[in-house]
Amino acid sequence: MAEKAILYDATRCTACRGCQAACKQWNENDEFIPTVENGVQSVNRGSYENPPDLSPTTWLKMEFREVTPDGKVRWLFNRRSCMHCTDAGCVKVCPSGALYHHELGFVAYDKDICTGCGYCEDACPFDVPRYERNFVSGIAKMDKCTFCTTPGLDRIAGGWEPACVKTCPPDALQYGDRDQLVAEGKKRVEALIAKGWTNANLYGEKELGGLHVMYVLDDHPAVYGLPVDPQISAATIAWQDVIQPIGWVVGGLTILGLGFNYLVARANINREKEKKDAARS
């Protein structure tokens, strides 16, 4: 099946945060109220941006950024949520298969079987997974954007676009076949360049094997706070691709070796005993 994706056009975004509200509403994450008790202080941070960060009940948030190239203030908006990577660090390290690639390419999540290990939290190049965690006992559950495929709330299976896309008034968010959106994104970038935005680019086409959330930007990704050339960490590769396979081989050979030793040693020792018994009688 053709891979699906979301295309976010930062140049069309008005930062109304309708997507943020629709995400909470559709995914029943609307109970979150910022208080000191739940770890979020509702303080004035000199920005319209709110809440301050992603959380177990905030899977999508809009970031506001003020930059001053050439002394002119620009107010930039950036959509912050799971990027649904093809080479997804979280899927690589998830020990229970709770995180997996949906047949349509993006990273789906089965919260029921999450063990709360927190490996995805550290493996994600975009710092997206958020946890509810008991510090002492370690009882924990992860949460992140599921591309609106949470069981019982699956919009994609119903043939609908994700809630954030559905609600976007200026069509800054689009949902569709990934190939088509790449072409659409490139067209937008060309149009921007033609208008004089020479740094315009399409972010996410190639990054980490291709993201399933792509960005049309009028400036360098770093200006928007996006990691330039994100990578799966060296520790993830050393652990998952080197040490774990070695562990399987070492463990397997040890068990086989012990079984083999048992059979040989028992046969030999029985033979010795029989010899001794025969000599005695």
Binding site: T115, R133, I243, N261, A265
Partner: protein, 216 residues
């Protein structure tokens, strides 16, 4: 009746069993994160709760033992790091012994033979690695940088692979190998027969009879 000689003192035996049982629990509750098919068992974090309770026992047991048994500890740690050419001789002779029951060519051994000392060294080193990396993962999960936490998991995993497979070997030799007739008694009752000591731990037995040895 056969003459017996004390091999392991009571505190040492208690430490051994407490540590072994807690390590087995840690092994099993850790394994569920290693084998993808078992990941389902770990859902809702209950294996992590057990893992942490066992970890507390695993860390506290030696901390309680050491100050009460200084001499035995020092002797043990020293032994773990004293290696000589004779150990190569043991390693060369080991396959013939463990597969064929042929003891010729085995150099005389101290209270621990080369194989036992190798395992003991792994227990010490992996124990330190498990403890440090585990405590960081437990108490710095929300504060340490992601890369640090990832490398902690990595080294926890390396220690798991080395110590875990060697644990299988240890249990096998203690319980199942047809020749290891005295191992169980040594660590359960604390004694081995004089005959066995002479044969398998000649250097140690000599020290015992000279009355010079420190109890382990």
């Amino acid at each position: 009746m056969q003459q017996e000689v004390e091999k392991y003192s009571k505190p040492t035996r208690i430490l051994h069993w407490v540590h072994l049982v807690s390590f087995c629990i840690l092994f099993l509750t850790g394994l569920v994160l290693f084998v993808p098919g078992l990941g389902v068992i770990a859902q809702d974090s209950w294996t992590r709760v057990i893992h942490r309770v066992a970890a507390v026992i695993f860390i506290l047991a030696p901390i309680i033992y050491v100050p009460m048994n200084w001499k035995a500890t020092l002797k043990g740690v020293k032994e773990a790091f004293s290696w000589s050419a004779a150990d190569i001789g043991w390693l060369k002779a080991a396959p013939r012994y463990y597969f064929l029951g042929d003891e010729t060519g085995m150099p005389p051994q101290g209270s621990m033979n080369t194989g036992q000392r190798l395992w003991w060294l792994i227990v010490l080193v992996s124990g330190v690695i498990f403890t440090i990396t585990g405590l960081v993962m437990w108490f710095a999960k929300t504060t340490a940088p992601a890369a640090v936490l990832q490398w902690m998991v990595f080294f926890h995993d390396v220690a798991f692979i080395v110590a875990g497979t060697m644990l299988l070997l240890h249990i096998y030799l203690g319980l199942l190998h047809p020749l290891m007739t005295e191992a169980w008694k040594a660590i359960y009752k604390g004694t081995v027969s004089v005959e066995y000591a002479k044969k398998h731990h000649a250097k140690w037995y000599e020290e015992v009879t000279r009355g010079k040895e420190v109890k382990s």
